[in-house]
């Protein structure tokens, strides 16, 4: 994997910190990756800032709340006839998202090997896992709204701010997962139909889709830690 990267003017670019100055002073482009990949990374960086704003807002509001904050392991426990198991649904959701990141990584690999069928099915598997994640999050929301009476402005279990931060953060994340599911299905179908064969047999789009999907998993890692465990 250490083949030389060549600039637009034909020189082999150095690596390491010398490479950083070489890249930023390169002719026409700084990042010697396909433009779609660079753009997806930049988009994900901006999305990181957006989610950080929400999480920092949550942090501030939780630190400054005078009323007791609900204990997540109690709130998000489920009982199947016996004692409530803390955070079981969240653990399953985490498991599902990690599995989906795995299927996505495999799909990217299959894409570069030009195995369209495997790529298609792995991307669909990723999408199905993502959809089930959203379904479980919807179940969680329903339980909190209907049974526990949590609202964005009030919360019978403790600090009123719990509801607004929870719904805002998990809602935005769920929206990103849903958009990702649609994105995955669209690209998967194009892969299967030979759309990318006609465009030169280039399957970088699968890797770019993968970047978005791993980002969604990444955000969940942070939400899981800061909201459910903390």
């Amino acid at each position: 994997m250490s083949e030389a990267v060549v600039s637009n003017t034909g020189e082999i670019l150095p690596t390491g910190t010398k490479g950083v100055s070489a890249d930023f002073s390169s002719d026409m482009q700084s990042f010697h990756v396909p433009w779609g990949k660079a753009m997806m990374w930049i988009f994900l960086l901006s999305d990181t800032f957006i989610f950080s704003c929400f999480l920092i807002g949550y942090m501030t509001v939780r630190i400054s709340a005078v009323d007791p904050w609900p204990v997540p392991s109690e709130v998000f426990a489920l009982s199947f006839g016996g004692d409530p198991i803390p955070l079981i649904l969240i653990a399953i959701m985490t498991f599902i998202l990690i599995t989906s990141s795995g299927t996505m990584a495999l799909a990217v690999n299959m894409g570069y090997r030009k195995n369209r069928k495997a790529t298609f099915w792995l991307m669909i598997a990723t999408a199905v896992l993502g959809a089930s994640f959203v379904g479980m999050q919807a179940f969680e929301w329903t339980k909190l709204i209907v049974e526990e009476g949590v609202r964005p402005w009030a919360n019978p279990m403790g600090a009123a701010q719990f509801g607004s931060t929870f719904f805002m953060i998990t809602g935005f994340h769920g929206l990103h997962v849903s958009a990702g599911v649609i994105y995955l299905v669209v690209i998967a179908r194009r892969v299967r139909n030979g759309f990318y064969e006609k465009r030169g047999g280039n399957y970088e789009i699968v890797e770019i889709t993968g970047l978005y999907w791993h980002f969604v998993d990444l955000v969940w890692v942070f939400i899981f830690a800061f909201f459910y465990l903390w």
């Binding site: 990181t48 920092i56 942090m59 630190i63 990141s101 998993d217």
Partner: protein
């Protein structure tokens, strides 16, 4: 831009995939085994950063990207860390002023339904 260069033996992905499950299990254990205080926070953060690191480096391929891209994406979040520090200081201040002026909370929570 080399396409073949993006391939690695599948092995790497499977190992990291497994590692992510293990780290998630450990994160869950922190709650299940009811760690408290600094140990709890320390472990939560440790596992979180390890998982995030592996996802970005391996699954998102950052480990093999050029340093310019690494810097462009990974350095700006330092600003986020500064923001976190600032807001946690302010949050503390807000909390203390609320206690000072409005007194302790008199909220009585309802029991959680299962």
């Amino acid at each position: 831009m080399a396409q073949e260069g993006q391939q690695h033996p599948l092995n790497v992905y499977f190992w990291i995939w497994g590692l992510l499950f293990v780290l998630s299990g450990f994160s869950y254990m922190v709650d299940y085994l009811n760690f408290q205080g600094m140990t709890r926070w320390g472990l939560i953060l440790l596992f979180m950063f390890l998982k995030a690191g592996f996802i970005v480096a391996i699954f998102m391929h950052m480990k093999w990207e050029r340093l310019a891209l690494k810097f462009a994406i990974l350095l700006p979040p330092i600003a986020i860390m500064v923001f976190i520090a600032l807001m946690s200081i302010e949050g503390d201040y807000t909390f203390l002023t609320r206690i000072e002026f409005f007194g302790e909370s008199t909220f009585v929570p309802e029991a959680v339904h299962h």
